[in-house]
């Protein structure tokens, strides 16, 4: 069955499912008519380069054409089949050779335009490779759908950060990444663009020694609605995961963070934790968190989750005021520090510097 048929034959998602509780499929669908698969999708400009503008090192390439998605977990059917159907020829594979190593982070620039735009990017990272990668989405399209699938090689060390800088419109982002034996994977999300975002991010550790760190720095302002759902699967012994998700919420915006941590039977020695933190910056802002746990294995190191929501700390504001900061400066500084606590973990100094420079203008908007 092709992707279109799969989508059309699938059951409509139920809002009782936390994935669809806050941003139902109808709201994020390009036309709102969920029985429709529009055909007029454009292909975005996609390019790979080094973050400092230097020449690409050998062993890494981005190629347009069919992607290999065999063997990937069959996750949520609706969005994945929809995106597979609408990405058509807009498919790209990032190939990283085994033992690839670069001091300079790589960047995939995606520039969108038109009404509907979509892309499927497949990660094919070789064994023992070491890579810092940023995928940044920019542009003016009204609806952008991005499907990212793939896997890392055994023993690979990857920092993979997705930055949403869409000027407006809707973003549907679906990810399905497999993490094999002794592989370390950092999955970062920096989101300060688009009016409505629905992200469904799934990471599966299917062999022993998998190590996953999911990080989020989310800035929502104006009337944005940023909804991120993260599922982490511990499907093998001795796996480790951490999720730290920080959202700063201003204007009349809404952020939603839902997490599902699944530890399957037989995944002894699993060590998993997730933490959602929300900073509420204005009277009309709203933050919702649902960190869920399903643990079917008793011999675990520990599985936990937490969530905390609150305003900017008055004691910290007072401390900065006593050092000569104005209220606005203090607030901006504290918001920046809050978001930076996850941002700084996403990669090395070069990547961090680049991410901070990208977010500066958005931070000042929240601080006002």
């Amino acid at each position: 069955m092709d992707a279109s048929s799969q989508y059309l034959s699938a059951d409509h998602p139920d809002r009782a499912d936390h994935l669809w509780r806050y941003t139902p499929w109808k709201k994020i669908h390009p036309t709102g008519d969920i029985s429709d698969i529009p055909s007029d999708f454009s292909i975005p400009e996609v390019s790979l380069k080094a973050i400092d503008g230097s020449a690409l090192p050998p062993g890494i390439s981005l190629d347009m054409g069919d992607v290999h998605s065999e063997g990937l977990p069959d996750d949520e059917k609706i969005t994945k089949s929809f995106l597979e159907a609408v990405t058509g020829e807009s498919k790209f594979t990032l190939t990283v050779a085994p033992k690839f190593k670069s001091e300079v982070p790589m960047i995939i620039e995606i520039s969108t335009s038109g009404t509907f735009c979509s892309a499927h990017i497949c990660l094919d990272i070789g064994k023992l490779a070491e890579l810092e990668l940023v995928t940044v989405v920019r542009g003016t399209c009204k609806w952008f759908g991005m499907l990212r699938t793939g896997s890392t090689g055994e023993g690979a060390i990857t920092s993979d950060v997705v930055v949403n800088k869409l000027e407006h419109g809707k973003l549907l982002r679906v990810e399905s990444i497999s993490i094999p034996r002794n592989s370390q994977f950092k999955a970062g999300t920096v989101s300060s663009g688009s009016t409505i975002t629905k992200a469904d991010l799934r990471y599966r550790m299917f062999q022993p020694g998998g190590n996953l760190n999911v990080l989020g720095s989310i800035l929502s302002a104006r009337e944005m609605s940023l909804d991120h759902h993260i599922e982490i699967y511990h499907d093998s012994p001795e796996t480790f995961s951490r999720l730290d998700w920080n959202s700063a919420c201003g204007g009349s915006s809404r952020t939603v963070g839902t997490g599902m941590l699944r530890v399957s039977k037989g995944s002894n020695g699993a060590d998993a934790a997730q933490l959602f933190q929300n900073l509420l910056l204005s009277r009309d802002a709203q933050a919702d968190s649902i960190p869920e746990l399903e643990v079917s294995e008793h011999d675990v190191v520990g599985c936990g989750h937490g969530t905390a929501s609150g305003p900017v700390d008055e004691d910290q504001m007072f401390y900065l005021a006593s050092r000569g900061f104005s209220p606005n400066e203090s607030k901006s500084t504290l918001i920046a520090a809050f978001l930076n606590s996850t941002l700084s973990e996403m990669g090395g100094d070069k990547m961090h510097g680049w991410l901070v420079s990208e977010l500066d203008s958005d931070l000042s908007e929240l601080g006002d």
Binding site: A16, Q286, D288, L293, E294, H298, G304, G306, G310
Partner: protein, 470 residues
Amino acid sequence: MSGDSEAREAVGDYKAGWHDPENATIRFDFGLSEKVVRDISELKQEPEWMTEIRVKAYRHFVERPMPTWGNTEELMEIDFDKVCYFLRSSDETGSSWDDVPDDIRNTFDRLGIPEAEQKWLSGVTAQYESETVYHSIREDLEKQGVIFLDMDSGLKEHEDIVKKYFGSVIPYSDNKFSALNTAVWSGGSFIYVPKGVHVEMPVQAYFRINAKNMGQFERTLIIADEGSSIHYVEGCTAPTYSTDSLHSAVVELLALPGAHIRYTTVQNWSNNVYNLVTKRGVAHENAKIEWVDGNIGSKLTMKYPAVILKGEGAHAEVISVAYAGNGQHQDAGAKVHHMASNTTSNILSKSISKDGGRGSYRGMAKIMPKAENCRLNIVCDALILDEESRQDTYPTMEVGNPTAHCEHEASVSKVGDEQLFYLMSRGHTEAEALGMIVNGFFEPFTRELPMEYAVELNKLMSLEMEGSIG
């Protein structure tokens, strides 16, 4: 082997699993229809408005689909046509245990209710099948104007109060099972505590299902007027059968300004009982509602005691424990809605699963946009004792006001080897050590119980832990 003995063997040491011969004075046929609903109402000689509510609720129940969340597989196994919706065991409610039929009195003797009443209770209601068979209240409380009746008598004697508050906290349209309860409710407690009256000793209700395929649908309404306080304790047991029974209660609490209601439940249903209960309280200005909730038995429990903090300065406290053994799914949790400013809430949930049991915490905490300076704290701890068992947590937190401080934390773990080693090095067997650790794990709950309940619960948990190692 007969069906009953098979079930008994499966359930093991469940102490309340015996049953008496069924001596019903009225027993409805299995199945639910509008006629059954009207017949129940007619039998009870209810006012017209109550009959109308029942019928509306029945129609809503029929139209409303089953929940699509939770343990949907187990829910779909409920056959509503194989449930008896009304069974009267005694023609009148006794005010002395001597008035209660011998077989029923013996049952409550074995459960220790009369003894507890003499020692430490202000009043007792004992419900057997669909209706109350015994009821008493201390004279001094009656003189202070405290009303403690079974719900049927409450409707007859205080129709105006019941009409005002019945369904005001949990309307029949709230969920499928509140609709079912509203349609066929029978028994339960009706309590009104006048302004400024403090009921020092707890009042207790005990709910016993005896017959096979029985449905018990008690309805409880507690109103604590301004500045008053009351502690209500309920216990539940049922015999062990190979066929399923259904318990679907609705409990509505109203704590008026400055009032304090503590509602303690220790349910120890047998493993053939579906326990699908809706409990909710409304706390007005500076009022306090506490749910102290223990879930030990049943096949499937879905119960999420809720508090709506409607008045400024109101406080909610939910302490719940759940033990999920073989063939059990304890899907329990709590809901708190902060509607007013300066309201606070604490939720503490403890859960253990063993022998293939499944424990789930499911919660909802909501801060409304106009509720300033609210505080909310949720802690969920779970222990998995063997490789067949499972624990889940599904908390939801929706924060709509920037002045709120909300925290939630949860953990799932196993019993620490070093804790077992420490206790065994002091001479305890492994099973004793495990029992002590489990009792310690539940201690935040047991310390809130009346002492007799706490001692009984500790014994029960120690029994459950026997044979869990090795």
